[in-house]
Homo-oligomer: 211 residues x 2
């Protein structure tokens, strides 16, 4: 019975990506616990033991998802903001790349991210990623400060960077929940808050992208 094998045999690398795609989709819809390995397998068009053979247990599978999406995001940002530009330009480029990425991976990213926060085993993984981001932002601010001959304590720097990253994550969530919203516009608004602050905005000062 070699006529039509209904669905083709595929090499491991391809199947793994299909599985990860399915996993991201299901995890984001249902959440880590409510997602079942059966549903993920079915969605990937494969049977459950294959998932176990290739990607391991449910936890390992989730970590693999986190990893793939995380690296993709980091690359998108890193590729956008060259380190020799002035702080505001770097911030703007980074924000634009970030919101662009989230806009393109709406349900995937945002919900994976939302998931990982809650579950102990993955919170660490996530925290590491966030820490890297915070360090980049803090480094950028520090660099700009030194250029002006100024300096603030490391902890002040960290907290400010943390707040900026937090605000950005929040708007990413907002963006993920508003499919009609425009990533670029959202990035601009974020830039306004981050760079100028509410006080400036109240006085009619606004920031606009130039180039």
């Amino acid at each position: 019975m070699s006529t039509v094998p209904a669905f083709k045999r595929l090499p491991r690398a391809v199947r793994e990506q299909q599985m990860l795609d399915a996993a991201v989709k299901v995890f984001s819809r249902r959440g880590f616990h409510a997602a079942s390995m059966d549903e993920i397998a079915e969605d990937a068009g494969i049977s459950k033991p294959m998932v176990y053979a290739y990607l391991g247990t449910k936890e390992e599978l989730f970590v693999a998802c986190l990893h793939r999406e995380g690296t993709r995001m980091m690359q998108a940002i890193a590729g956008a903001a060259a380190p020799d530009l002035p702080a505001d330009v770097r911030l703007w480029r980074g924000l634009r790349a970030f919101f662009g990425f989230v806009g393109a991976h709406r349900d995937g990213w945002a919900v994976l991210y939302r998931q990982a926060r809650g579950e102990q085993p993955f919170a660490g993984e996530l925290a590491t990623m966030r820490t890297r981001l915070v360090e980049v932002v803090a480094g950028m601010l520090d660099h700009a400060l030194r250029a002006e001959g100024r300096e603030i304590t490391a902890i002040d720097l960290e907290v400010v960077a943390y707040a900026l990253v937090g605000a950005t994550e929040s708007l990413a969530d907002w963006l993920a929940d508003h499919p009609e919203a425009d990533p670029e516009k959202t990035a601009t608004r974020m830039m306004n808050v981050a760079w100028l602050g509410a006080g400036q905005l109240l006085h009619g000062v606004t920031w606009r992208p130039q180039e």
Copy 2:
């Protein structure tokens, strides 16, 4: 055998609070799914059926936790920021109250909050709470804007408010993870970012509480 009943019989209202205390503790340690009703019951010093009798299913119990902690927080904030003060003062008072609350309820609040984000059934409940906060902040900004004869679109307003709330939540998480940190100081730093923005900070402008 009426000598020493080992542990006393207590009225419903008291036991309910004990159960809620235990539930908050266990939910925050383990996360919603990993937490077991048995552990919560044991921690409350009572047997499982009592929990079901008083607070209902696991989901209902979690909602009850969310509700209690949420109301407490809202009250703490609402009591601090009178609506007839200028925007910056209101913002400052609100932030101080908020971080004070989180500092006092560290593991309780922060992790409950982190939990609720991920799980579908409760994300709504949480979103409602956040929306109320966003509306308050947006209303405050709008009020201040009109006072200056200025105006921006509703969506701009919402997004700015959303970003501020997000940044604040993030710093609350940070505070919950850093037991040595000072709530008041954290509030001040948040105020600086929110009110002045990174740009102003870079130029040496800082905000300090006055009173």
